[in-house]
């Protein structure tokens, strides 16, 4: 076998020698024959001709000899040359086909790049599939923060994790030189980096025990911080940096490749150290999350059971704080990509459909061509080309098209990846850092190869199907005239139905996603989102440690900002609306049955002017006033959701609520009810909420909302400078108008990303589908010109011709639409996770899609119908 291959190969490379040897051999043969004839007495001249005659066609013998030993290499090259010539002959067809393929493939490759980056590429940690996201869960939250006390117990008691490390967000005021700037940071436990398997590129990581309260203050810098704030100097190790007035010693710098999506923007990483602000002393204060690494051989279910067991013990031990507090355990991977997975999968399905429609379109173009080449095929067949050889010719053309299209597709794909990763909004990149560096890699390349093979097979097979059903004699006899080929019409029509079906699915998907986005952005917020400037402030703890100092600051900010021209009113709050259902409080209603359950409500500390600034509607009672400070009894304003849930059918005004133990210090009286202001994200439920006076707190973080009479964005710089004139050490960040806030919420970003992309796919699908239909109808009309001519000569009216063509198009369209509507309902049910405020079978969307596609199809078939109706019978009959 091997010897045979070797001999074949040596023949292939010594082709010219093979030929000359064969030539010589055959010449010798002829000479011998001639000599024999001469011996028999035939004259020399005649003998030569006789020998030649008897020998037969030398070229043919050579070819056959060659075929017997060769690799068909040469006929392939011949086919290829011929295919090139064919494509060059009809550049319109070739360019269209290659473009369609390249576009379809480019989009698919690009989207796959993102899917690969997000879903297939492992996280940049050691053994990432053994890493867990560990959190608590409560009735209201499937995944809630972990309290430090619980974390410490879990860490000590568990038997399934080789390490369990906590992390939490933090903000510091960075004092560098004379400037003060708020910076995001993270507090982590000592083994955090070693659990991830990350080594600092400079200096060292945290050592065991360095996170305990009272230990020296040390900090590790992120790579970007080291580069931008410390000039990338290698001698920063050992230097000190001032964070919120405390001095920290820099011990390490993280490598450039390090990223931890849940706290990605963190510039400084400090050990947990002191239990902050009294919060971490309380078991009921949840402010951390944790990562865990599974011990060898332990499954995630075992770890979950283990932690749930510990949580149960703690619940029995500390009923007050831990009632119903369980454990939530999932792969870390799930935490990071869980939210984007449905979107990416939807996009991937969308691209798959788009690619399919592109292939189908090109396939039907190929069919049209093979149809108009019937005569050529018939002639070649009659001249002796075997069916196999003819088929090979078409396969070669298909492969050539696919190859050209795919080469273009790879280029477009690479370009699109770059473009899309630049288009991804910044806030989304913070959560999904891996989307920023999508590029061609082995996975993407393999995927590209797979779809190239698919396209090639499809494009090569279509004409084969077509050819194998063809009768050469009939084709010759027909001479390419007469009625359109039956087979072609049937297959072509089926392809058009497929195209329209896909177009409906994509259009409906885009419509539903677009509608979801619209609903999301126009969700009832409960306040006036226009002309509202917002920003966050961080005040240095050192200057503002007492309540009176904070209250003075609040009042000063209120006074100074209100005095700015263009400002109508000013409000202060601990959290702006539309951010999160967070910063909650557990309440108990005085005089109602209570069994220790955690009645979770949003708690917002606000200035008296805040709710009025939002233009929240007061339903009953009164708003907070300047008098509701620490020297007066505690009062609160609640939202309707709280009133509905805890005071059904009652008037809540005057009722009192407190903490779980109804301690006198926690008791506050309800003085007013407002209609719901959406505190949580756009796609989250409205939770019960209570608003109490900010004048009672010592919180140094707060947010400001400013109602302006003009463009809110234009007011932001003067608001910031005004704040700095009050105290230059105030850290100000997140200056945005409320409209910008809404547009940049994660939900809005994800929905917008999905809606735009799927919308783009749908637009392409619409164009391709309609072009496909146009192709079929136009082709069928051109084939039937003679038939139409005969009909008209026999008295058919133009209107009858019109309706004949339109009826054909109408049937195809209606069939496609019907299939499409059925399929798109199925598809939308699959992607209902992405829908917001719309049902998968949203009738207006489907009706619009059907209407748009129907109109487009009718327009596409109207042109050929018009051409058919304007056929001049005499010309049609005389032609050809």
């Amino acid at each position: 076998m091997l010897g045979r291959l070797w001999r074949k190969l040596s023949l292939l490379f010594g082709r010219s020698r093979f030929r000359s040897e064969l030539d010589e051999e055959m010449a010798f043969h002829r000479a011998q024959m001639e000599a024999e004839l001469v011996e028999d007495g035939v004259p020399r001249d005649e003998a030569r001709y006789a020998a030649k005659r008897r020998f037969g066609n030398a070229t043919r013998i050579k070819e056959q000899s060659h075929e017997a030993v060769g690799f068909r290499f040469e006929t392939v090259a011949q086919d290829l040359r011929f295919a090139m010539r064919q494509l060059r002959q009809s550049p319109g067809f070739a360019i269209t086909a290659v473009l369609i393929l390249a576009l379809g493939m480019g989009v698919s490759v690009a989207i796959f790049g993102f899917v690969d980056a997000a879903l297939l590429e492992p996280l940049p940690y050691a053994q990432p599939n053994r890493l867990l996201d560990v959190a608590e869960n409560a009735a209201a939250w499937p995944r809630s923060n972990l309290s430090r006390a619980d974390y410490e117990d879990w860490k000590r008691e568990n038997t399934t994790l080789s390490s369990l490390e906590a992390y939490g967000g933090m903000g510091y005021l960075l004092h560098l030189g004379s400037t003060t700037e708020p910076v995001p940071a993270a507090r982590v436990s000592d083994g955090f980096f070693s659990t991830l398997g990350v080594e600092p590129m400079l200096g060292r990581g945290f050592l065991p025990g360095e996170d305990l309260p009272g230990k020296p203050k040390i900090v590790i810098l992120s790579y970007g911080t080291w580069l931008t704030r410390f000039g990338g100097r290698r001698d920063v190790i050992g230097q000190s940096v001032s964070l919120s007035g405390d001095t920290y010693t820099i011990v390490g710098v993280l490598p450039r490749s390090f990223e931890f999506a849940p706290r990605r923007d963190s510039e400084f990483w400090v050990p947990l150290l002191d239990k902050r602000g009294g919060c971490e002393d309380r078991r009921s204060c949840h402010n951390l999350y944790a990562i865990g690494r599974l011990r060898d051989g332990v499954s995630i279910d075992a770890a979950r059971a283990d932690l749930k067991r510990i949580a149960k013990q703690l619940e029995a031990q500390y009923p007050g704080s831990n009632q119903d507090q369980g454990a939530a355990v999932q792969p870390l991977y799930e935490l990071i990509v869980g939210d984007v997975r449905p979107i990416l999968l939807t996009l991937l399905s969308g691209t798959a459909l788009l690619f399919l429609i592109a292939c189908v379109n090109v396939a039907s173009l190929l069919l049209v061509r093979s149809e108009s080449r019937r005569r050529e095929i018939a002639v070649r067949g009659a001249l002796g080309a075997t069916p196999a050889r003819l088929i090979r010719q078409f396969v070669t053309e298909g492969i050539l098209l696919a190859a050209a299209g795919c080469a273009g597709g790879l280029m477009i794909g690479g370009w699109l990846m770059g473009l899309l990763s630049r288009l991804i909004p910044k806030p989304m990149l913070i959560h999904l850092p891996f989307l920023g560096d999508v590029r061609m890699n082995a996975h993407v390349f393999l995927f590209a190869v797979a779809i190239v093979v698919f396209a090639t097979v499809l494009l090569a097979l279509t004409p084969v199907l077509r050819l194998s059903g063809m009768d050469i004699q009939a084709a010759l006899g027909e001479g390419g005239r007469g009625s359109a080929g039956r087979f072609w019409l049937r297959l072509g029509a089926n392809l058009v139905v497929v195209e329209i079906t896909i177009a409906v699915v994509l259009l409906a998907g885009a419509g539903l996603l677009g509608k979801s986005l619209y609903k999301l952005l126009h969700v009832e917020s409960g306040f006036d989102t226009t002309h509202l400037a917002t920003l966050n402030v961080m005040a240095p703890d050192s200057t503002y440690s007492k309540n009176e100092q904070m209250v003075a600051l609040y009042r000063e900010i209120d006074r100074r900002l209100s005095a700015l021209p263009g400002v109508q009113s000013v409000g202060l709050t601990t959290d702006l609306p539309l951010q999160c259902n967070c910063d909650t409080d557990w309440i108990r209603i005085e005089g109602k049955p209570f069994h220790g359950e955690h009645n979770e409500v949003n708690e917002r500390d606000v200035s008296p002017g805040y709710l009025a600034t939002l233009k929240a509607k007061l339903v009953r009672g009164r708003m907070l006033t300047e008098q509701d400070d620490a020297s007066h009894p505690q009062v609160i304003v609640i939202n309707e959701a709280l009133a509905r849930k805890y005071f059904p059918g009652e008037d809540p005004i005057g009722k009192r609520i407190g903490g779980g133990d109804l301690a006198p210090a926690s008791m506050r009286q309800i003085i007013g009810v407002i209609s719901d202001v959406r505190e949580g994200g756009l796609n989250e439920d409205v939770w019960p909420a209570e608003y109490q006076a900010i004048y009672r707190t010592t919180d140094t973080y707060f947010a400001i909302a400013v109602r302006t009479s003009t463009d809110a964005g234009a007011m932001l710089p003067s608001i910031v400078s005004s704040l700095h004139s009050i105290d230059p050490n105030l850290g100000v960040y997140g200056e945005l108008t409320m409209q910008q806030q809404i547009d940049s919420t994660e939900a809005a970003l994800l929905h917008r990303f999905a809606a735009w992309l799927v919308g783009g796919f749908a637009a392409m699908a619409l164009v391709l589908g309609v072009v496909g239909l146009y192709g079929v109808i136009a082709y069928s009309v051109s084939r039937r010109t003679r038939e139409i001519g005969v009909r008209m000569a026999l008295g058919a009216q133009r209107s009858a011709v019109y309706s004949m063509v339109l009826r054909q198009a109408g049937w195809l369209t209606i069939t496609g639409l019907a299939f499409g509507v059925a399929c798109s309902i199925g598809a939308s049910v699959l992607m209902r996770k992405l829908l917001f405020g719309v049902e998968a079978w949203d009738v207006p969307t489907l009706a619009t899609v059907v209407f748009v596609l129907g109109c487009a199809s009718m327009a596409a078939s109207f042109l050929p119908a018009r051409r058919a109706a304007s056929v001049n019978p005499t010309e049609a009959l005389r032609a050809e």
Binding site: R4, E21, E25, F28, H29, F55, G56, K62, A68
Partner: protein, 112 residues
């Protein structure tokens, strides 16, 4: 040509191999030899001979060598290889089986 029986399909290779088992020969010699041995009944078409020879070469059953003939011209002489001899024996036994089988079918039962 009419009236002359065609070569049984698949037997050309065997005939060439058998011919070469007697002596090394050039293409013309093979054609001539088959013609003579068959008393002019079998004529090997050149159109089949040369492709067949190439096929046998590739299979490794024959070997080609350029030599000078008695008349002083260069010609390619083919010789049988060991593998070719094995192949010839195989084909011969298969052919005999086939002929015997056909003979049995064709014989009239009364004669048995």
């Amino acid at each position: 040509m009419a009236g002359k029986p065609d070569l049984l399909p698949g037997t050309l290779d065997m005939l060439i191999l058998k011919t070469l088992s007697r002596a090394a020969m050039h293409g013309y010699g093979i054609a001539l030899s088959i013609k003579r041995f068959s008393d002019d009944v079998l004529t090997v078409e050149e159109g089949s001979l040369y492709p067949a020879l190439q096929r046998l070469l590739v299979q490794g059953w024959v070997k080609g060598e350029w030599k000078t003939t008695e008349t002083g011209r260069r010609a390619r002489y083919y010789t049988l290889t060991a593998a070719g001899r094995k192949q010839l024996n195989l084909e011969l036994s298969q052919f005999e089986q086939m002929i015997t089988a056909i003979g049995r079918v064709l014989r009239d039962p009364q004669e048995a």
